[in-house]
């Protein structure tokens, strides 16, 4: 090979690199492992994590069941090891799957168009802000305080670059007052609210959307896919966009990623949306096929005038979501929501019977709720862990004054027996 190239050594291939910039010597990285050694090393690392405690932790990422078929599909090498489908004739599998994913997201959210996915539930919120700014010509973004702290932090980090001002609307007893939203939304580009909100509480979402839209701000709902078999679609109650974290459908928790964020909108915003979008077309023989479309929005065509810099997204994780939703169907998704609600309500009743108070007792919830602990939530959490129960998320991490509040998530994987153990641990 060297002779064909016309050089005498591999080293000569690097002759364009100035001597002052050559790295001499050996990289100080750990020594190479064989596959068997690697497997053992990784098992040892994995064993240092604690995953055998019963998980009542949520706060944006949830311990839902991931069906085996999801793994089987994701391990198909033709899908797993493909790049972005720039050459559609080589990529009809991924392209059709993304088209089907976009359809599922549109159905669930009541929107006209979905992109092929964003990085996660927080970055799609920043993307939605960018769309809203350019659609309205305004630069104020209103976000409810009952929206995930992770989401709010990410929007605030993106804001200076986008030229956005972020205004937060405080919650009142765990929910958002539409009148406060109406005031804050004056001259705003968008209002972002979460449904169910970060405390698990069901907001009066239609009223929040109406309050947001009063002065022309775009209402944006941050929603949980597992709730949308039961809850009305944001598009039906007037939202301009619907966004969220897709992990609940099809992804393991995996210490926070990779997951996918979904971003869907009304057709008015289709040419402003960030990210890949797959569209239907025909081939030279008139047969149906799929391609990446509306690419004049994108960075590789529009460069500095693009709607976003996003290129790599989360297609494989979104595919996992599609597979899971396809297994569930409308009835399964509805039952998934009902089981979460029923178990969560049971947990709330039992905790109250055991003498514990709910933080927002008058509010209706979905799968998550806040409970007051005896003493600090951090201590209660530590105490429960000694009984093999990971009881929830200490809300004091993000909300001053809620140091004795624990956010408890109950998915369909939890059992009555496990909930009884939770109650016992927290009541002790």
């Amino acid at each position: 090979m060297l002779a064909a190239i016309g050089v005498s050594s591999v080293d000569e291939l690097f002759r364009d690199i100035p001597a002052s910039m050559r790295f001499d010597g050996e990289l100080a990285v750990p020594p190479a492992l064989t596959e068997a050694e690697l497997q053992r090393h990784m098992e040892e690392l994995a064993a240092k994590n604690v995953v055998d405690e019963v998980c009542f932790l949520g706060a944006g990422i949830y311990d839902h069941y991931v069906p085996a078929v999801v793994d089987a599909v994701l391990q198909r090498g033709e899908l797993l090891t493909a790049y972005t489908p720039y050459q559609p004739e080589m990529s009809q599998g991924v392209l059709q799957a993304v088209f089907e994913y976009q359809t599922a997201i549109c159905e669930l959210t009541g929107m006209d168009v979905s992109n092929a996915s964003g990085y996660d539930g927080s970055t799609v919120a920043a993307d939605a802000c960018f769309v809203a700014k350019h659609a309205t010509g305004r630069s104020k973004i209103v976000v409810t305080e009952a929206t995930s702290p992770q989401v709010r932090q990410v929007i605030k980090t993106y804001a200076p670059g986008f030229g956005l001002e972020i205004v937060e609307v405080p919650h009142e007893n765990g929910a958002t007052d539409p009148d406060r939203v109406r005031e804050a939304a004056e001259d705003a580009a968008a209002v972002i609210f979460q449904q169910p909100n970060f405390f698990g509480i069901l907001e009066n979402a239609p009223e929040l959307a109406a309050a947001a839209a009063g002065d022309g701000a775009l209402p944006i709902a941050h929603v949980d896919l597992t709730s949308l078999g039961l809850l009305e679609a944001p598009g039906v109650y007037g939202c301009a966009m619907a966004i969220g974290e897709g992990q609940s459908a099809g992804n393991s928790m995996s210490y926070g990623g990779p997951h996918y964020g979904f971003l869907a909108a009304r057709s008015d915003y289709i040419r402003r949306l960030p990210g890949r979008i797959v569209g239907e077309t025909v081939d030279a023989a008139g047969e149906r096929g799929f391609v990446l479309t509306l690419q004049t929005r994108e960075q590789h065509i529009r460069r500095e005038k693009a709607t976003s810099n996003i290129t790599t997204n989360q297609t494989l994780l979104a595919l996992a979501g599609l597979v899971h939703l396809s297994l569930l169907g409308p009835q399964g998704l509805r039952e998934l929501g009902e089981t979460c609600m029923a178990l969560s309500a049971y947990a709330q009743d039992r905790l109250q019977e055991a003498g514990l108070e709910l933080v927002f007792p008058e509010r209706a919830t979905f799968k998550e709720f806040a409970v007051r602990t005896r003493g600090s939530a951090r201590e209660a959490l530590a105490q429960a862990r000694t009984n093999g129960i990971y009881a929830g998320y200490p809300l004091g991490r993000d909300y001053p004054g809620l140091d004795d509040a624990l956010l408890v998530a109950v998915t369909e994987k939890r059992t009555v027996e496990e909930i009884d153990r939770l109650v016992e641990a927290l009541a002790a």
Binding site: S20, N49, D63, C106, I301, L317, P330
Partner: protein, 487 residues
Amino acid sequence: MKLIYEKSQPGRRGIGIPKPELPVPELPAGLARKEPPRLPELAEPEVLRHFTELSTRNFGIDTGFYPLGSCTMKYNPRVNERVVGLPGFAGLHPLVEDDAAQGALELEWELQEILREVTGLDAVSLQPAAGSQGELTGLMLFRAYFADRGEDEQRRKIVIPDTAHGTNPASVTMAGYELTPVKTDARGNIDVEDLRGKVDEHTAGLMLTNPSTLGLFDENIEAIRDIFHGAGALMYYDGANLNAVCGISRPGDMGFDVVHINLHKTFSQPHGGGGPGGGPIAVRESLAPYLPVPVVVRDGPGFKLEYDRPKSIGKVRAFSGPFGVFVRSYAFIRSYGPGLREMSEVAVLNANYLLARLKGAYDVPYERLCMHEFVLSARTLKREHGVSALDVAKRLMDYGFHPPTIYFPLVVPEALMIEPTESEAKETLDAFVEAMLAIVGEAADRPELLHEAPHGRPVRRLDEVRAAKQPVVRFGFEAQPVEHSTA
């Protein structure tokens, strides 16, 4: 083939849900869904078969040679898929207390240390979810750095060469900066004379891919470094092409202040038909205080997530980053150890071999040795036979190869950008050369064969213009009613 929605049959389902004997609370008035979502209704085997059929209509690195330039389509070791699924990783919630995540934190810390060494820089954030988010994060750090020095309002310009990936200028806009383009010279380097007139006290920095998207190491990099650092500006390294230089030349040693690493390119995270990826950034000490939170730090004998960093820009993504990507890339790196240098050497050797064998048959815009990839031009084929780079790409499919990147970089007409990676055996490279040479012959003898290619794929050439003019981006249930069997 049919869409999954067209296979749907009312009442079928693929998985059951536990139903405890408990009452389901009623939803508050006005919140309940009125129409059920039209998700597919199929039994489990039908769902699996649907997606298996889709997979047969797709091509991955597991299927064959995938020389897509700038995408570094290398083999994805299967053991990495096995270890990422270990319950101790896959079942770990991101918000557990640090004592419950010591294995994950150790892995993240080790990966940070390795990336520091490979880039020759001082501190790392694993948080960015992809290369382009790494770019944006890097530019946010530029702004924080200059704001701390009272220079943010003064320094508004970012210099980018015309060969850059489109993500660079798009990131500049998203960070609130202004773009200053700079030309490429006759050898494929940044035009230093053009550059000198464009860098001054209003310049925040440079974004550069080195080797560039032409697959060329910039021979003027020392002069470029002196110009930017002399003007008090910073340098950003787009790590898309890091696969060329691991253990050979480090961005930190080249003078760069911030680098992103594409874990889904150099470090083998499978790309999943579009993602996921990972775009960690490494920075010089002077920029470390501004890194996103949290950062993994040592804590006695263990590790912890550090949030208390007052100068941090904040968070660009939830939690500490795409952990499963870290698992795979860490496993990949541990399989090589210091042998990462040989990985890059073989990648560069393979690319130069292909270039040497193809340069007589296609136009070569820059007569130089290449790094891990190179760019050919089909301009002569186009002029003499009316055969375009697109035709060549489509015809390659008939020979069983994924085409190279085409029409990029924009500075080369009829560009074919070829990156073989280190994964390929010489026989595969030779077979690809034979196909590329055969196509040149076909262009002269039977050009219609190329215009009409591909011939053996599940679909013929697709009408992209129609897709963009009349966008159909979801299944139209109303317009195309689902076919239900009458049985």
